[in-house]
Symmetry: C2
Subunit: 412 residues, 2 copies
Amino acid sequence: MGTDTQFDFVENGSVTSPLGFLACGVIAGLKKNKAPDLAMIESETECSFAATFTSNLFPAAPVQYDREICANSPKIRAVVANSGVANACTGLDGYNNAKRMAELTAGALSVPVGQVMIASTGRIGVQLPMDLIENGIREAAKSLTHNGGSSAAHAIMTTDTRPKELAVSFPVGDRIVTIGGMCKGAGMIAPKMAVAPHATMLCFLTTDADIDNALLSELLGNAVEASFNHITVDNDMSTNDTVILMANGASGAKIGKGSEAAEHFAEALGMVTEHLARSIVFDGEGVTKFVTVEVTGAASERDAELAARAIANSPLCKTAWFGCDPNWGRILAAAGYSGAVFSQENVSLDFDELPVVRGGLDAGTPESELAELMKRREFTVKIDLGEGEASATIWTSDFTYEYVKINADYHT
Amino acid sequence: MGTDTQFDFVENGSVTSPLGFLACGVIAGLKKNKAPDLAMIESETECSFAATFTSNLFPAAPVQYDREICANSPKIRAVVANSGVANACTGLDGYNNAKRMAELTAGALSVPVGQVMIASTGRIGVQLPMDLIENGIREAAKSLTHNGGSSAAHAIMTTDTRPKELAVSFPVGDRIVTIGGMCKGAGMIAPKMAVAPHATMLCFLTTDADIDNALLSELLGNAVEASFNHITVDNDMSTNDTVILMANGASGAKIGKGSEAAEHFAEALGMVTEHLARSIVFDGEGVTKFVTVEVTGAASERDAELAARAIANSPLCKTAWFGCDPNWGRILAAAGYSGAVFSQENVSLDFDELPVVRGGLDAGTPESELAELMKRREFTVKIDLGEGEASATIWTSDFTYEYVKINADYHT
């Protein structure tokens, strides 16, 4: 970071903010409530691309299909995604339906079938209703517009309460490069893309930079690791997690490996993915609080990450946050069973600006003050293990009645 | 197993069912609701003993103290335990208070201080009110009786809704050996004692067998591994988990390593610990369902265990069980991210007698039938990974509004 370029958040930014992209969302009829459920993004020209997927051993059919596209296609033109049905655990029929989604889209857009990527999110174990998908794709292909980004962002929502999208732009020489993004995800959230994915999290990123597949892959991997791989709502990893980044070069700005422009691109991409990742937590199922768990002073990065994830995923910590209960013993207990190595007498804990634990013991801040602080919509739990220099940050949420309600009622 | 001895569940069995043990529970005043909160068990004679403790890096003061007793004392006579305050994260003062609990008990019972073990459960980070403890111990020492087991079992309860206790007896030659036990635990439950403990789980076991420390340790380790280490309510490991087994030899039955009697003892001990472990899950915070997760066909025991624990701890699986939602995709997804290695097309899933998944796909059982089955108070989720011969079983519960309520309100 620390480069001195100007980064701008684009007003009403979306995947259609970069030049040369069209998008839309339509009602294919997969959702009972007749909300938009099929999104399409098309670039006017061929795109370089990069993608990362769930590491779940039950990858959904669209994930399997997309992996083949990644292996065989140097360029793509379009992405189509449906919500309502995940097309996961659907066997050969599911795979053929996934392939058919791509073929139908390629046909409707008159682009090569190898240049279409697909994604699905929704219920596992159910076959796609292909008649609805077929009509939806035909409808979508006719509905694409240069300002359809927001409409697409609505169509990939499941239990999300709001669409998640933005765009960031920055100069490269006399050109302006824009990166747009949208994502969905509210439950089954603990993505560890490529590195080790969880969660039904779909994210589509577009840019008008001119940048090759190899560099895109590297930059996307770093951005995803620093953002989506550091959020957790329920520690449940999905079968469908997908992140796709398309670059069509329409800005005329060429970005090469090792250049200052590549650094700026990395920074802007990081802004987009961090914003989207945080939006997922903020909009997590039943979430009332956004909690940043920051572990410092760990002996190793692995220890820092173990401790941060144990705290961020502890049902006891998460329910205490929901109840504004400064029950810090639960946080220390979670660090204590995380597998991280440290000595309890060296541990410090803070909630934002208030000291909670010093030397493993109560720091003496009145509980009423801590409880008051916890009423904030967003706060940071900072724990220092007093062992070394390594650190890790995980963004997480509280655990509420509403989460239980949403997930006990999801199906019925 | 498979020995042909007669094992009997003792009517109203408790820690005072074995010969030569006294116990009681009294009101020391640590709990706001003035429920019994201090338990004491004393043997009329010195006991061989074995114990296992939490592996949490924040071991509570009583755990630290007891470890010293284990290292230094060949025999013990008594155990004292309080609920209400965990005496964890309490530093040197906490340690001195723990030691004082042992000294007060030794004094009141006129036994050597090195022969008293202690345990605490309740809120972390708070010092024990030693005036109340002192009065409670004095009161308890006067209240011990040969049928006080049930009274003691009540006094160690925290969010438990009922006491958990039993006793099993079996013949050794012309003698009858009895093993009694009691435990508490409802939240912070995912013990992995010694091996890798979680949960505030206290368990006290008594027997009138004559059996040495080494054999007791071995048998206790096996029994705990097969019982308490295979339950999970919330995957939160406590700072205070403690299991203590005392053997006073009052039955006159000597049990030596490698004997048939030792096999019978192991079997009876397993019956006691399994019963107590299952009781903890049944009485877990907010629990409405007892779910046995059985993984078979795994490539290794580690894989079987990884898959079983991922399913048993998945908030999405647990909320679906609460809602009687046969959303089997969540179960497969949890197995898929568990780290266990397998191929999705070989996976089978059953709920009790109903097939759910065959070859990674919907087995075709109507969802209404599955939903009906899930109304059972207890059912088994059986997943076969189709890779090998290894298996694992974890006992777990659903995840409910009530769990959130209990844990968001615990403190206030």
